[in-house]
Amino acid sequence: MTTRAATPTTTDLVERALRGKRIDVFGTFVSVALLLSLLVSLGILVTLLADMIAKGWSVFADRGLDFVTSPLSPDPAKAGLSQGIFGSVVLTVFVVIVAFPLGIGAAIYLEEYASDTKVTRFIVANIRNLAGVPSIVYGLLGLSIFVKLLSGVTNGRTLVSGGLTLAVLVLPIMVITASEALRAVPQALRQAAFGVGATRWEMIRHQLLPVAAPAMLTGSVLTIARAFGESAPLLLAGAILSNFFAPPAGTGLLTQITDADYTALPIVIFNWSRQPQKEFVAITAAAIVVLLVLLLTVNAATIILRDRFERK
């Protein structure tokens, strides 16, 4: 896919022969301007990271790991991220358990089983449109369905409601990335499997999925990472929006998930960012550094892995 007009060597030679040693001023200007627009993005990225580290550094220097392991507190000198990280991890587990199988299942149906009928086309269009719905609208869905309507199952404003809301949010993106992975598998592979008498399910299980797995997995990981940083829907789906809360004493892990107040790392950042005091600016920046380190490690690892697969 990378063999395109990127290196038109003949063109270069002919151009050079025609042009002689004169420099194409306008052409150089255009290419520099285009490169510059890319470098501005890089500049923004670097500025953002440097600014967060500069603002948040004192927190790490003064408190070290204590900042990550302390619970929330109205006192910025004591407040920490443990509850936020716990919430985000549990929410991510929900997304993996619910959205991953549903997304891949739907993609397999649409790509491998469904014939091109009106109903199929409707479902595909529907999924595409769902992927473009603003995330806060999913929060409204989570609020009215999971928090209110199904409160018997979810116990209202709990990690169950938040997790299901995020799962529904990423589902369409999951279907789209998985579909693209399946579409990239050559048709010949399917025909060969059918040719030796495999049923459709055997073909999918033994031929298709092993080949499509790397692309599917990297796509899913990037999608799940997005859910990890997502906060708008959680504002509505019940995350605690104050500076302090404590689980009832002596509650086990399960109760904390199914029947207790919760927050998430991006929500903690949101709450702190709205506090005017200077100390909160520092811990907000530090929390952002923690969030970005987590996300960038996962994303970078995935992108490197994908590039390696692509080059093969």
Partner: protein, 285 residues
């Protein structure tokens, strides 16, 4: 197995129906609870029963326009460079910049807009501007949608057949001429789609606006983006923040579903239009 997979696919339709029904139900209840003139009042102050839609829609438009002014040159420039100029190796090195930028959560850009873009950029150009303003929020949202605009329009430019470029070179056109006058127009429907998609994302973006645009209690209509103001998404977010405390006037809480419905309709319309454009460039080549 087939049934199981079908059920998974049908689930998406169930989700759409659930979204529409829950939004519609609560929005109708809101409209029933208030006097319709309250939708055309002085400013958006839900707790005082003033639900002026003009205010929040205008602020959304303002923020989105600023975002597009930022994202269009950066996104299209990056796309053209990656598609037409970068050699494969440079591309492999440069493309991840956009991918990493795309992975930055919006809450982070909200904080960046409030604590960096405002003091270091907006307040330097226009001294005396308040900390929270629509301009910084718009710039933040713009940064957020650069990767989206870049990747969709790059795909469109790469889909332009090589023969078009070679024909152009064959006629003696230079590289810049070929890129800007041949490839760019040929990919125009895809590029338009990327801009519409970016606009739709900008309209629906919540966290940047909720943090950086200010006016959490409500706001009067501001023509000037250097003031704080509440957008549609900002209004939903700040109602959500207050939801466990004050009940306010009749319909205060349900108004967020009404705003959500309007937001849903606007973004859906834009997405459908951009889908049309994408299909056009796919069909042609």
């Amino acid at each position: 197995m087939r049934r199981l997979f079908l059920a998974a696919a049908v689930f998406s339709v169930v989700v759409s129906v659930a979204i529409v029904l829950s939004l519609f139900g609560e929005a109708m209840r809101f409209l029933g609870a208030i006097d319709l003139s309250q939708l055309w009042a002085d400013g958006w102050f839900p707790r005082r029963g003033r639900f002026d839609m003009r205010t929040i829609v205008w602020h959304t438009v303002l923020v989105s326009l600023i975002a597009m002014v930022v994202a269009t040159p950066l996104g299209l420039g990056a796309a053209t460079y990656l598609s037409e100029y970068a050699k494969p190796r440079a591309r492999r090195l440069l493309k991840p910049i956009l991918e990493i930028l795309a992975g930055i959560p919006s809450v982070v850009l909200g904080f960046f807009a409030l604590r960096f873009i405002t003091p270091e950029l907006v307040q330097r150009i226009w001294p005396g501007v308040q900390q929270s303003n629509l301009m910084a929020a718009g710039i933040g949202v713009g940064i957020l949608i650069v990767p989206l605009v870049a990747s969709v329009s790059e795909d469109a430019m790469r889909a332009v057949p090589r023969s078009l470029r070679e024909a152009s070179y064959g006629l003696g056109a230079k590289k810049w001429h070929t890129s800007l006058r041949v490839v760019f127009p040929a990919a125009l429907s895809g590029i338009t789609a990327s801009l519409i998609l970016g606009l739709s994302r900008a309209i629906g973006e919540t966290m940047v606006v909720a943090i950086a645009a200010g006016a959490t209690g409500g706001s009067l209509l501001q023509v000037n983006p250097l003031h704080g103001g509440q957008t549609m998404t900002g209004a939903i977010a700040s109602l959500a923040i207050g939801s466990d405390q004050v009940a306010g006037e009749a319909g205060t809480f349900n108004s967020l579903f009404f705003v959500g419905l309007a937001l849903f309709a606007m973004t859906l319309l834009l997405n459908v239009v951009s889908e049309r454009f994408v299909r056009r460039f796919r069909q042609r080549y």
